[in-house]
Symmetry: C2
Subunit: 223 residues, 2 copies
């Protein structure tokens, strides 16, 4: 039983990685900087993408792929702002995979030279295993979840290219221990930048978007 499961998982992972590599090639050709945003339910992913969009929209085209098990609550918000957006409903599935992204790319007006945010299903576990073809893996945690997430969900923090700590405006009210949070991350990922932000007050958004725009210039010089 266990062995069979592993075998099939290996096949799934191999097929996923092949499609992820194809997606990556498309993104590179079209100079799309793709960010795979992963977080717990309710960490503030949609608010964070919205804050990022508002901060960079005068400097870059922008698009969003929304991943949810059900509903299109978040996609409707971006459509209302005029952002090109595709909705993926996984129908019970606990993560996005590269095949879903490949289908989505061809079904909405993804602009060239853009920043594409992929909002993964709210889950700190399963999305860590599935590459989508992204250049940047962004992991968000929020102060209300407590300091111990890196200790309990290590895989997703280990591979992150940037870590966002949201809801710092209520860090004091929830007695968030930043030192222990950072210590947990550093044990897994020595170099990753950590951006402490509040989507509500706007604190920290500029430092984050400066880093993001710099990454875009480094990855696609002259785009």
């Amino acid at each position: 039983m266990e062995v069979r499961m592993v075998k099939v998982l290996k096949d799934i992972m191999s097929a996923n990685n092949t499609i992820a590599a194809e997606n990556s090639r498309v993104f590179n050709e079209r100079k799309v900087l793709t960010c795979n945003l992963m977080a717990s339910p309710g960490a503030g992913k949609t608010s964070f993408i919205t804050a990022t969009y508002n901060a960079v929209k005068d400097r870059t085209p922008f698009a969003v792929i929304e991943g949810d098990i059900a509903s299109q609550i978040d996609a409707d918000k971006f459509a209302a702002m005029g952002v090109p957006v595709a909705q993926i409903n996984t129908g019970g599935g606990c993560h996005l995979d590269a095949n879903m992204i490949q289908s989505a790319i061809n079904q909405f007006g993804l602009p060239d030279n853009s920043i594409l945010f992929i909002e993964n299903v709210g889950n700190l576990v399963c999305p860590a295993s599935y590459k989508l073809g992204e250049q940047l893996r962004i992991v968000m945690s929020s102060t209300t979840e407590g300091y111990d997430k890196p200790y309990k969900y290590p895989a997703i923090f280990t591979d992150a290219d940037a870590i966002i700590l949201n809801k710092i405006d209520i860090a004091h009210a929830v007695e968030f221990d930043f030192a222990l949070f950072e210590k947990g991350i550093r044990a897994l990922n020595e170099q990753v930048p950590i951006f402490a932000i509040s989507c509500k007050t706007g604190e920290g958004i500029q430092a984050w978007t400066d880093w993001l725009m710099n990454r875009k210039t480094e990855i696609y010089p002259g785009a």
Copy 2:
């Protein structure tokens, strides 16, 4: 590919249900009321079990099985309080399954006639699919996650026997919309009781534990 995965998943589910039924038989024989607690990372599961324990410890034996991908931070807390506790580390796995529980039952001093809390891996998706042999499925959400969790993660709310809304002491600060939260739940699960609580202030804990102790008496009269 897709078909093969579904086939194996069916085998896994069938094997899991068989072991869950065995666990259920053991719990019934020993008159153990087992609660499978499921929530997002950081919703406050451990604080909630602690508050429940403190409210009922003079009326019932109590035990805990802790499920985590890694670490034993939470199990250490219960051990320090003198509560019989078993730690399961899934080593990357995104949910507990019935086999893990079967192993755990035999490896720690689970008291007869007790309330057993199983703290599942923090995840609003995958644990919904795996029965453990529990009598009660308890789903917790917290105000800081936003009102929309029942809309986005419907499966786990549909099967719940009780829903706990935690962190109501900061509901106002995070502008939590209780009416929309309740509406989302009622669309999935008409009868389920919803307990709004704060583990920090203790608000709502008595109503919740009264319900829990009543359920124990109903399920095991005279125990």
